[in-house]
Subunit: 196 residues, 2 copies
Amino acid sequence: MVRRRRMVRNYDPQRPVPEPVLQRLLDLAIRAPSAGFSQGWGFLVLTEPADRDRFWSATAQPGQPPDAWLTGMRRAPAIVVAHGNRDIYLDRYAAEDKGWTDRDEARWPVPYWYIDAGFASLLILLGAVDSELGACFFGIPPERIPDYRAAFEVPGAYTPIGAVSLGYPAPDRRSPSLRRGRRPVAEVVHRGRWAG
Amino acid sequence: MVRRRRMVRNYDPQRPVPEPVLQRLLDLAIRAPSAGFSQGWGFLVLTEPADRDRFWSATAQPGQPPDAWLTGMRRAPAIVVAHGNRDIYLDRYAAEDKGWTDRDEARWPVPYWYIDAGFASLLILLGAVDSELGACFFGIPPERIPDYRAAFEVPGAYTPIGAVSLGYPAPDRRSPSLRRGRRPVAEVVHRGRWAG
């Protein structure tokens, strides 16, 4: 499943994602691990054509003609936007069993409110492979996030960490980034000490 | 696999993780998706008892007697620390096909250099389930990171986003956090618009 996964950037617009399949992917997403079981995530699911159009209008660079990427992505019959909510984590860790009552963000090595929403997104990507679906995880440009929030009434406490497009795959162009090649284990793994 | 996964906080100290199994988990980790195929991650793998002792000494709160959590975790025969390197992402996106030559971090909605290392960590957690191993993902307290870096000569460009303890499971106490209950799909998923 992990090895078969790849980002799919073009979809069959005629084949919606069956509702039971979509539900299964969302059931997987909420099985992601989260710091202190905070589960400080939220997901916006868009399947109606008008909602999907609103998403692409709100998030694409204005005044730019749709490129090949956007043209293929717009054919996706479903979009799941994953969000992380920092406040839910600070609240959870202010509880008695954790005791970080100062709610100080400096106590956190990295923002697990984003990482956990990322975990949930990866489970959707892997579940899509299992369901013979294509999927692609992509970020919403920061300068477009205000329009995105406004379009879907997303509360300010929820930051969109990325969106997953879902649908039955159509032929697409292999990402040129892949030409850079995968960094082998020997290059990224250090044993015993970093130098080692 | 996703449903069977749980954090395991106590291990059989007599059973090391077989090297082929560890290699398989690392092979899975580098199959994680990454923005622009940046693969800006690095992993420190500790299996020697002296290295593992050095890890726990460097990362545990000094002067505190080991609690039940640390006592069980210290029995893990293998630790994989996952790191993210922001510079690799900024460099990747400064390349011609991306064109962010200003290397401005503000172009990123969230730090994908952490999220992608999180993706890799989750693949290790899922691979462990497949291999009948127990695993636990946990953060290194920010105030201990300097000692951790010094102990293993980790370059400043690499931030440890979390560590994964690995080993054959021994009886452990269910995380009290789980008593809070899983947030159901209906509570965290919004259809069409957030209010919806």
